[in-house]
Subunit: 167 residues, 2 copies
Amino acid sequence: MTQPGGLDAAELGGFFALMEVSSLLQHAVEQQLRSAGGLTNIQFKVLMSLLEAPEGQLRMTDLADSLVVSRSGLTYQAGLLEKAGLITRTPSPDDERSTTLGLTAAGRERIAAVLPGHVDVVRRLLLDPLTRDDLGALTALLSRVRDHMREAPPRSAAPRARRKAEQ
Amino acid sequence: MTQPGGLDAAELGGFFALMEVSSLLQHAVEQQLRSAGGLTNIQFKVLMSLLEAPEGQLRMTDLADSLVVSRSGLTYQAGLLEKAGLITRTPSPDDERSTTLGLTAAGRERIAAVLPGHVDVVRRLLLDPLTRDDLGALTALLSRVRDHMREAPPRSAAPRARRKAEQ
DNA sequence: TATTGTTATACTCTATAACTATA
DNA sequence: TATAGTTATAGAGTATAACAATA
């Protein structure tokens, strides 16, 4: 114990730097998505998830889990995206209970319209001040942290699917 | 241009690693603040800002600017914190228009109650997998990025105080 | 019975604009 | 007139619980 709450200056510095950088970056990204394509961050993630999905399709529950939102929350967002003509919702062929989401042509176009600016923001804010080696070092460090976080879940970050079992 | 949106694999990797690490960390921190002290992230920041303020006091507008929220938003949060007995709101002595916020004893106790767990989360998730040298390297890299971000504002991140002049 | 998704509902947070009171 | 803060209000987003349909 050497500082306000048990973190020394170096530790606090690292923590604050990480939080400030990510906060500024996220802010900028959200602003760009909104102004360039009228999308929120989550909506963009839904579209990108569909774009990167094996068949270009995803089930609601799977997507909700991977984006860490409630299913009802995703239903709400999917409703907006469907109304905007960017995605389709159709009953899954193999399991009639499921809804399969798919990208429309308009959805692809919207991504294409937004992505360049998105990339610009990331490059300008995050990548520009880093050399190639810097980027490699940063990624290596953060990857290590990420792997560690995944191994030791944040205590309480109970996976959605296990809710039932906890009772 | 080599990948989906003009970012190559290394660049994408760095970007995603940063966003995922910060997102997981922020999630965990918010969850801890809520369960340990019934505080949201912003409320915690308000309390911490007051704790670290020179006289233990801050004006509404200054705090709103530094936390990047609207003044009405801060009024709302300050109202909650005052109702909870954690802060006081008093007219500033030098300028009767201003409201000065101050921490109550209960506010200090709340911080004390929450801070250890807060630190735990940061240490467990972020710091544990890093050596001392790693932390130094990470901080150095992120600090460089942060400084760069501050110099070249996110295009649009117009400082609150200048709103008037833009019209 | 369990699971998928939707709906009904309630709540939190946020911001804009109008307002007051000081300067 | 300009500024500090509050209030009224409205909107976006989220989640919980109840529900309908299917497995």
